[in-house]
């Protein structure tokens, strides 16, 4: 990746790079990028979907223990949709 693309990427990621260390940073970043490019040679088996957190890292519900809420718990929490900054950020 050339420097112009690297700096464009920095802007996308909202990152400032230390100019004095730019050259060393660029070299190490390119080494890291080349390393990950090994996956481009891989052809996935079949046409199954990518593994995701919800899909295959499955939660084993058959033997899982559920949390038992204390009896006096009142489930009345609501996510604030409008935040009133004048009132100290409370919803």
């Amino acid at each position: 990746m050339d420097r112009e693309d690297l700096l464009h990427l920095c802007a996308l990621a909202r990152l400032d790079l230390d100019q004095a260390e730019l050259e060393a940073f660029e070299g190490k970043f390119n080494s890291m990028l080349s390393f990950t490019q090994k996956v481009l040679a891989y052809e996935p088996a079949g046409d199954a979907e990518p593994l995701t957190l919800i899909d295959k890292l499955e939660l084993r519900r058959d033997v899982a223990r559920d949390f038992e809420w204390p009896e006096q718990t009142v489930h009345d929490y609501q996510v604030p949709t409008v935040i009133d900054f004048e009132a100290g950020g409370e919803g």
Binding site: M1, L15, M32, F35, K38, E49, K56, V63, R65, D66
Partner: protein
């Protein structure tokens, strides 16, 4: 009392239950020793003032299950602690004091355990040596010029250096198992979902898992009895066991009925250094001599694990770390214009390794590259998991070296990040598959230090189980310790301070 501080937690618990030792006095003595040793080990970033807090209330549960309780422990600085600074090893969180405890710290507090302080770590858990921390480097107790491993560098040095009985760490790609092998202690990463991640500063949400360092596998089981609880604050936390890890781990293993898988690619002298390989083979010989059936496994995806891991974790970290912008946490630049403020704050707050991973994540998620990098890596992840599950149809446990190398001197691998990444060669497949792994000490190997002297450094044997078979893993690990005759003893210079004999 100081001579007790090299002993495993379950033995200390015996003494507490027999009223031979008072838990608060023990923890105060541990805190004093930890302070003394920290001038050399630099394990801690922040101390908890145990003296002013006084003894913790503790009411034992009446179910007969032994738990990690009333003992002193340390927590990686990635776990939020109410009223105690939490930085994740980063300048960008300097001065951040969470208003709440992470679930695991809460559970330990409720068990009457004493938090000694927060431990050093690679910034946002990104590193394999402890060198990317913004607040100094923890050191390997076996040789202070060598890295302790990472990213849970301070947690491992605290347990290996007798500064804590147990320490919480996190293991995203090997960050507990690899340092455990570098420092000669036990490092256990449970199956993804066994422990709550609530209040744990996120790096890669699908690979992050809280984990523990102890001086023996039985203490890991003790810790699991305290920590493995369902948590309504973490929708991915669904512990599977309703039993007693400690009791199960103590049961005998009938070695002749156990089938241990050996991954051929991780026995290759081209990948694994000679002293590590020698100790690994010696461990397999012990298992075989006890009657265990050794089964060879082929892992054609081995070379893809690290690149896939770095793509997935970089993508997730670029998203998770987007929240650090100087508005909600930590110090901020003085820029008036909002975007300039973000850019300058993040530029000054993050270290170089974290920036590289954020940039890589931004790149692999960008239009035009998402298919070829990120989605391909996730497909690879699926294939790696399927491969692992298919192995467990013919074996009960997989055994590999934990790290391909011994610990290395500070600065030895900083020139090229890829050389550093290789340290996780044997561990990342466990995280990609979301299963459990443990590193148990299996000997020492020789290295030549930069000054020409010969150094003896520990090595580790990694044991891996099928997802949700954590009880079996701890049982095999404990029985392997008995089989190999291993028992933790501290390095000589620390043993002297404790007034005990070292090997």
């Amino acid at each position: 009392m100081r001579e007790l501080l090299a002993r495993p937690g379950h033995e200390l618990l015996d003494l507490i239950e027999d009223r031979e030792v008072h838990p608060y006095e023990l923890s105060l003595e541990q805190a004093r020793l930890s302070h003394e040793l920290d001038s050399q080990l630099d394990s801690f970033t922040v101390w908890n003032d145990l003296e002013s807090r006084g003894p913790l209330p503790y009411t034992p549960q009446q179910d007969g299950i032994r738990r990690f309780s009333q003992l002193p422990y340390a927590a990686k600085d990635v776990f939020c602690t109410s009223g105690l600074q939490t930085t994740a090893g980063s300048r960008i969180l300097k001065g951040y004091i969470p208003p709440f405890n992470s679930t695991l710290v809460d559970l330990l507090e409720r068990s009457g355990s004493y938090l000694l302080g927060k431990t050093n770590m690679d910034e946002f858990a990104m590193g394999s040596s402890g060198e990317t921390c913004a607040y100094g480097h923890s050191r390997n107790p076996w040789h202070l010029d060598y890295v302790p491993g990472g990213s849970s560098s301070g947690s491992v040095s605290s347990v290996a250096g007798c500064q804590a009985v147990m320490a919480l760490g996190t293991d995203t790609g090997g960050s507990v198992r690899q340092p455990a092998s570098f420092c000669g202690v036990v490092g256990f990463r449970p199956t993804y979902g066994q422990l709550s991640r609530y209040g744990m500063v996120a790096y890669s949400s699908s690979c992050d898992q809280a984990a523990v360092f102890t001086r023996c596998s039985l203490d890991c089981a003790l810790a699991m009895n305290t920590l493995s609880q369902p948590d309504p604050q973490d929708s991915t936390c669904h512990p599977s066991s309703s039993g007693d890890y400690f009791e199960f781990a103590r049961r005998e293993v009938h070695w002749e009925k156990l089938r241990v898988g050996v991954i051929r690619e991780f026995t290759d002298p081209g990948r694994i250094d000679a002293p590590v390989l020698a100790n690994y083979r010696a461990s397999l010989d012990k298992l075989a001599a006890a009657g265990t059936q050794i089964v060879e496994l082929d892992f054609p995806l081995a070379d893809y694990c690290l690149p896939a891991y770095y793509i997935i974790t970089a993508a997730e970290c670029s998203s998770n770390l987007a929240r650090y912008d100087g508005i909600r946490y930590g110090p901020a630049s003085g820029q008036d214009e909002l975007l300039a403020r973000y850019v300058e704050t993040r530029g000054a707050g993050f270290g170089a390794e974290v920036k590289r991973r954020i940039l890589l994540g931004t790149y692999v998620l960008s239009k035009g590259y998402q298919d070829s990098y990120y989605d391909r890596a996730r497909r690879l992840r699926r294939d790696i998991r399927d491969q692992l599950l298919s192995w467990f149809e013919s074996v009960d446990i997989i055994a590999t070296p934990t790290s391909p190398t011994l610990a290395f001197p500070f600065g030895a691998r900083n020139e090229d990040p890829v050389r550093m990444y290789i340290a996780d060669l044997c561990t990342v497949f466990v995280n990609l598959a979301g299963t459990a792994g443990i590193s148990v000490p299996n000997g020492f190997g020789s290295d030549t230090a930069p000054d020409g002297s010969t150094v003896q450094l520990p090595t580790g044997l990694q044991l891996v189980c099928a997802p949700w078979s954590d009880e079996l893993l701890l049982r095999v690990a404990h029985n392997f310790e008995l089989l190999s005759g291993w028992r933790y003893t501290p390095p000589q210079w620390i043993a002297k301070k404790l007034g005990i004999q070292a090997k």
